[in-house]
Amino acid sequence: MADAGNKESATIGGDEFTNTELENNKNNTMVQEGSTLLRRMEISVAEAEKRTGKNTVNMQEIFTVYLIETRSIDAITEGHNPAPDSLWRRYSEFEILRNYLLVTYPFIVVPPLPEKRAEFVWHKLSADNMDPDFVERRRVGLENFLLRVASHSVLSNDKILYHFLTEEHRWKEVVYETGFQAKADSRIKALSATFRVKNPDKRFTEMKHYSDELQSLTSQLLRVRARVADRLYGVYKVHGNYGRVFSEWSALEKEMGDGLQSAGHHMDAYAASVDDILEEEEHYADQLKEYLFYAEALRAVCRKHELTQYELEMASSDLISKKQQREELATGMVRTFSFKGMTNKLFGQETPEQREAKLSLLEEQIVQGEETVTEKTVECEEYVKGAWVDMQRFKEQKDRDLREALIGYAIMQISMCKKGIQVWTNAKECFHKM
C-alpha cells in the first residue's frame, strides 16, 4: 500500500516533478519545496481495525483505529529496507490535529478530513459507520489527508504534525498544551459573527463568493448523482428478472431452450454488474466531497481575512477618535457634539488637573493605539500575502484534481458502456441461436 500511497501522493500534490519543474519550483514558493515532510518520509494509512474501550462517560464503545505507517526515505534510498514505524490513531485524533492546524495556520486552506458520517448515500450504500466499505473509503481519505498535509510547504513543517505521525503516546497532551483549544473556540465564534468591513480586499471577497458557489454546486451535484445512481441500480436489477423468466421459459421449449437459458445467464450477469460499477463511482463521489469540504476551508480563510481587516479598521477608527478627543481636550474646541461637552458647558468645565490627567491617559492610549494599528496592519498585510499565495496554490491544485476526477469519471462511464455492449452482444448471440 505504501507504494500506491507514494504514487497517489505524486498526483494529488502535483508532485510529478521533472528536473525543469524542480528548477522552477525552487523560485516558486507556491508549489511544494524540496523540504516538505513527504520528501523525507513515506506515509501511509495502511489498515483499519475495530477496538473496544471506555469512552468519556465510561461506557463501553466500539470504534475503529487506523494504522499510520512511516518510513524514512533516506533509509530506503540507501538500500536498507527498514520496517515501517507505526502507530494507531482514531478518527477523533485526526480531527484534533486538523483543528490545531486550522487555528495555527488560519491563512492556509487546510485539507479536509473524509466525512464524519456517510452522506449523499444512494439506497444500497450503508450509512453505517461500521460498514466495511465505509471504513475502507475512510482509510483512503485519511491517508489522502496526511499526504496533502505532509506535502504542503507550510503545514508539513509543523512539529505537532510530526509528533502525530511518529509518537503514539502523549500526543494529545502535547497538542492541548499548545493552547489551541481556546483559539479554536474563538475562531468558531468569529466565523459566524456578523460585522461589516469597510475596505475588504476585493480578491478575498470574490474568493469567498466562489467558495460559497463551490460548496453549493458540489453539494447539489453529489445529491443528484446519488439519485442517478439509485435509478441506475433499479434499471440494472430489473433485468435480473429476465434471467429467471428466460430460464423458466426455456424449460418449456425444445429447440429454443438452450439459447434462452444462456441468454438468461447473461441477463443475470448484467444485473449483477451494477454493484461494482456503483462501488467504483463512489470514488468519484469522494473526490467531489473532498472539494465540498475544501470549499468550507477556503471560505474560512476569506472570513479570517475579513476579521483581521475588521480588527484593523476598528483599531484605526479607535485611534482616530482618541486623537480627536486629545485635540478637543487640548484646544478646548469641541468638534463634535458630546454629552461631556454639553455638561461641561452647563455645569462648568473640569479643573486643569483633571484635564491634564485625561490628556496623559489619552496620550498613553494613543501610543498604545498606534502600536496596535501598526501591529494589525502588519498582521493584515502578512495574512493577505500568505493567504493569497496559498489560495493560488489551492486553485491550481483544485483545477488539476477536479480535471483528473472528471477524466476518471469519464473512464468509468466508458468502462460501463463497454461492459454493457459486451453483455448484450453475448445475449444477442444466444438469441440468434434460438
Binding site: Y242, D399, R403, I407, I421
Partner: protein, 440 residues
Amino acid sequence: MSAGTPKSLASSGQKPIQEICHPLGAEETAPVLTPSPDVGNTTTSIRGKDLSLPNGTPVETSSPASSSSLLNRLQLDDDLEGETRDLFVTVDDPKKHVSTMETYITYKVTTKTTRVEFDLPEYSVRRRYQDFDWLRTKLEDTQPTHLIPPLPEKFVMKGVVDRFSEEFVETRRKALDKFLKRVADHPVLSFNEHFNAFLSAKDLNKKQGLALLSKMGESVKYVTGGYKLRSRPMEFAAMGDYLDMFTQKLGTIDRIAQRIIKEQSEYQVELRVYGPVYTTWALSEAELQEPLEGVASCVASCSNALDELTQDMSEDFLPVLREYVLYIDSMKIVLKKRDNIQAEYESKLEAAAFRKEERASATQVPTDVEKCHDRVECCNADLKSDWDRWQNNKRQDFRQLLTGMADHNIQYYEKCLAAWESVIPLLRDKQPQETETDED
C-alpha cells in the same frame, strides 16, 4: 374413405412445400399450380436466400444495402425450411381520410405474385381496419379448422389513446402487415378466395351483415358446442398445456419490459437534472469551464440515447409481445373447436352404434357419422400442421424480437460510449503531461 388418407385439402402436412413446383424454377411445369400433394414434380427448390430478381441477378438478402429496394420493403425473413415464396404482401403508407361522417386511416396493401389464382402480377389497393376485420372473419368462417392469425386490438378508448397519433398508427400498421404476411405464408389460407379478393379487388363487396351472422353461428357451434369430450389425444392436451404456460411467461416478460421502461424513464428524469448542474458549475470556473461543459453535454447525449431506447422498446417490443398473446388466444380457440368436433363425432358414433343395435341390421355406417369422422381427421391434421408452422414462426418471431431488443440496447451503449470517448481529449487538453495512470 378411411381415416388415414386426407382429402385433397391443401393443408395436409404430408407433402413438404419444397416439392411443389416453384414458378421460377428451372423446370417450368404446367401453369396450373395446385398445392395438391399429388403433384409429384421435382423442382429446384429455391430457398429464400438464393432468390433472384426477375432479370436473373442473384440477390444478397443478408445485406440490405445490396438488395433492391423492392426486396427491402418486402422484408425477407431468414427462412429455415427453405419455403419458396410466390406471394409477397406489404402494408404501408398510412393515410388519414376525413369525411363528413367519420375520420379514418387507410393503408396501402401491395401484392406481388406469380400465382395464377391472381389475374395480375401486381396489385395496390387501399384498405382500412374494417376491411382487415372482414377478411379475418371470412377466413374464420371458411377455414374453421385452421389457426387464423390475430389482428391488432379493434377497439381503442377514444379519450385514452390517440387513434391518429404517429406511434399508434405505426404500431397498428406493423401488426396489420404481420397479419397479412402470416396469411400469405400459410399454404391453405393464402389460397382463400376472400384473401384474394382482399388483395386485388377495387372495392370489397363485404356483405358485412351476412358475414356477421355466419360468424356468430360458427363460433357458437364450434366453441361452445354442446358435446362433451371423452378423451383428448395426448398431443393436443400437450399443446393446450404449453399454451397456458407460455401465456404466463409472456405475461411476465411483458411486466418486466414495462418495469424496465419505467425505471429507465425515472433514470432519465434524474439525468436531465444532473447534466445542467455541471453547466451551472462551469459558469463559476475558468480552467474547468470546458471540461465541465463537456461532461454536461455527455450526460445530455446519454439521456437522449436513453430516450430513444425507451421509445424503441415501447414501439417495437411491447406491441409484438402483446400481439402474441392474441395469437395464443386464437390458437386456444382452435384447440377448443377441435375438441368440440371430436366430441360431436364421438357422441354421434355412440348414438349410431346404439341405433344399430336396435335395428340389428348393420349395413353401413351412416354417412352423417362418417362425415363427422372425416371432419375430425381433417381438423386434427390441419391443426397439427398449423401447430408446427406456428411453433416455427414463433421461434423466428421471438428470435427476431429478442435480437431486436439486444440490438436496441447495444446501440444505446454505443451512443453513450461515443459521447464519453469524444470528451476524453477535451478533458485531457491543457494537461502538461499525459497521465496514463488511470487507463484500464
